[in-house]
């Protein structure tokens, strides 16, 4: 069972890592879908399976919302300000640093908040760290939404160990879906000819 949880952590690391490097929205949404599957598995370590499934269903609904919108908008390449280094080598290097920080800080957090479990902490921190990195190096709306969903997944994974209220789970699901809808709205607003 523990091995399966660690496999989920590895999958989360790979998906968040590739999300950072990829530039194709189809691949990004596919990776996000796999990422939500791992988040579901990590969350189920502290929540009942049926409750943890909320994360999976919500995440996939968010992906469907974003995917449907992207299918219907004209693809326009909007280049943001280029003052930060954004090449794939830089992103690879920055992601490597995040992974090293996560490896170093996971046991420490485990000692501060005992009972969560190393894999859940590691998975959560990887999502948080790589999600924040994602947000830090892009201004493109679609990628910002992907970054925010990743950060929220990381937070919800660790928070599931601390709070098991159904209402909180429901409200966080509303936030995730709302974020996807806002993303869809922003993507549509970028392309007013699609209205």
């Amino acid at each position: 069972m523990t091995i399966v949880v660690w496999v989920a952590v590895v999958i989360v690391s790979i998906t968040a890592f590739v999300l950072l490097l990829s530039r194709d929205w189809r691949i990004e949404l596919g990776l996000l879908g796999i990422q939500y599957l791992s988040v579901f598995w990590l969350t189920s370590q502290h929540w009942p399976m049926s409750m943890a499934a909320i994360k999976l269903v919500t995440g996939w609904m968010a992906i469907a919302t974003l995917g449907m919108t992207q299918l219907n908008v004209k693809e326009t390449i909007v280049r943001g300000p280029q003052f930060w280094p954004q090449g794939w080598l830089f992103r690879l290097f920055a992601a490597g640093i995040v992974i090293v920080i996560v490896i170093a800080s996971t046991p420490r957090i485990d000692s501060i908040i005992p009972g969560i479990g190393l894999p859940v902490i590691a998975g959560s921190l990887i999502l948080l760290g790589l999600g924040l990195l994602h947000l830090g190096i892009t201004t493109q709306p679609f990628r910002v939404i992907i970054g925010l969903l990743t950060v929220l997944s990381g937070f919800e994974t660790i928070y599931s160990a601390l709070e098991s209220s159904i209402l909180v789970a429901a409200m966080l699901s509303i936030v995730n879906l709302g974020l996807a809808m806002v993303g869809a709205y922003i993507l549509t607003a970028r392309n007013p000819e699609n209205i």
Binding site: V144, I158, Y159, M171, V175, M181, T188, A189, R190, P192
Partner: protein
């Protein structure tokens, strides 16, 4: 009837149905009247007190339960509800002048109801999620479908969303501090995480970079509404934390952090405002300064702090309303609000120009205007604590005043012999005129809102004592 039903659910449900109404005039009228009615009910009908009308007895229950959690509005919340919905009504009535009713009325009411819910919800940690949902609703308000989103909007979304996880985690840790008060490390960690959460939510230094960016991108009126409602309610939410945790309230480190954070906000916003050449960005820096004033007020001894925080609410709201209305009028006519585009506009739009200048001067604490009495009281309170702080406060105020004077110079600048060419619609002139007069009335007679504002600290169990 229960208080949350009246002041949270009814405006929220109306907001949803209002999305279906397309007629701007009907929307502005219905939305404004509803908000005014809610304010009026809050003034005349006390919560949780039975009123006798002949054989009829009327009592508004303070709480309702939803999925095992409670929304509670206690009798002491009445004045806040009256002020809040009164101000919402002013914003919604003003929307008809700016032709933004179709967005502002439904989304404004939904955001307002979520904000009140964030104050009423128990356990109060859920407030962070409700504020986040309100932030998500603010996006369509700030971004019309025919506009490309700018970096300011994206940063607004990112920064406000990042605030929520910090607050939720901090809340969980604070519960741990409550059960083991001797654990100093846990207390420091939880206070730090809480501080980070509020730094994101309130856009504290240096996280306020999105405010001027967003002000430049969005409609001045709608952004004015968001700049008013978000910090105001978030500060009240923050007061809830201070009220609940005695160790946090008594912490000297927190007082120092608040005073240093506040003074940095006031000084930096004053300096940026002094050198700013865009009218919307000037408004954003004024909002940053206002948040700084609130932090400085919170850094004072608790009995003064709570009074000052509430005294700041009405002048700030009124100044922002006048500012946003005036900016919208100018924006509709010149588009870009850079100094180079608005030169000499005072001769065409004297009321909007006057409103803009006087609102700016009010935020800067100019005598006779709404902001003056509370600024002078705050300055006195700061001077009693630290002369250095009082000096830096003055520098910040001086920066804001410089910004106002530069704006005035640009608006009235015109070649010699240029005549007046009034191009303002009379309704706009009358409404801005009334709003400006109210800025003066509040400045000259600050005690008129005392009966409402004076009772606000009673909302809190410990601050109210």
């Amino acid at each position: 009837m229960s208080a949350p039903l009246i002041w949270i659910i009814i405006p929220g449900v109306f907001g949803i149905f209002a999305l279906l109404i397309t007629n701007q005039r009907i929307l502005f009228f219905l939305g404004g009247v509803l908000a005014l009615l809610l304010a009026f009910i809050a003034i005349i009908i006390p919560i949780d007190t039975a009123l006798q009308f002949g054989n009829l007895s009327l009592k508004i229950a303070p709480a309702i339960e939803i999925l095992g959690r409670r929304l509670v509005l206690i009798p002491a919340d009445g004045p806040l509800l009256a002020i809040f919905y009164g101000l919402v009504a002013m914003w919604l009535f003003g929307a008809v002048l700016t032709k933004t009713s179709n967005r502002l009325v439904p989304l404004g009411l939904l955001i307002s109801s979520l904000m009140i819910a964030s104050i009423a919800v128990e356990p109060f940690l859920y407030a962070a999620i409700l504020i986040e949902i309100a932030v998500l609703l603010a996006i369509p308000l700030l971004l019309p479908l025919n506009k490309t989103p700018g970096p300011g909007l994206m940063r607004f979304l990112i920064y406000q969303t990042l605030g929520m996880p910090f607050i939720l985690i901090a809340g969980w840790m604070l519960a741990g501090v409550e059960s083991s008060p001797g654990d100093l490390d846990l207390a420091v960690q939880s206070a730090t995480i809480l501080g980070l959460g509020f730094a994101f939510l309130l856009a504290l230094f240096p996280l306020y970079i999105w405010l001027p960016m967003l002000a430049e991108e969005a409609s001045p009126y709608n952004i004015g509404f968001i700049f008013w409602i978000m910090p105001t309610i978030t500060i009240i939410f923050g007061l809830g934390f201070l009220d609940r945790y005695a160790w946090l309230r008594a912490s000297e480190s927190l007082q120092q952090a608040l005073s240093i954070g506040g003074i940095i906000m006031v000084v930096t916003s004053g300096l940026w405002s002094a050198f700013q050449r865009h009218l919307s960005r000037q408004m954003a820096y004024a909002v940053v300064a206002e948040t700084g004033f609130s932090l400085l007020a919170l850094s004072l001894p608790p009995e003064k702090a709570i009074q000052f925080v509430f005294l700041l609410i009405i002048p700030r709201s009124l100044a922002l309303l006048v500012w946003a209305l005036s900016l919208t009028r100018l924006h509709e006519n010149v588009g870009l609000l850079r100094f180079s585009n608005v030169t000499g506009l005072a001769r065409k739009y004297p009321f909007a120009s006057a409103g803009l200048i006087l609102a700016h001067l009010s935020v800067a604490g100019f005598p006779l205007l709404a902001g003056f009495p509370v600024r002078i009281a705050l300055w006195e309170g700061l001077a009693a604590e630290s002369l250095g702080m009082a000096f830096w406060f003055l520098i910040g105020i001086f920066g804001l005043l410089t910004g106002a004077i530069r704006t005035l110079a640009v608006l009235v600048k015109a070649p010699q012999g240029t005549g007046w060419e009034f191009q303002e619609p009379s309704t706009t002139s009358i409404i801005i005129g009334f709003a400006v007069i109210s800025l003066f009335i509040l400045g000259i007679f600050p005690q008129i809102f005392r009966p409402l504002v004076g009772n606000l600290p009673a909302m809190f169990e410990h601050f109210g004592k």
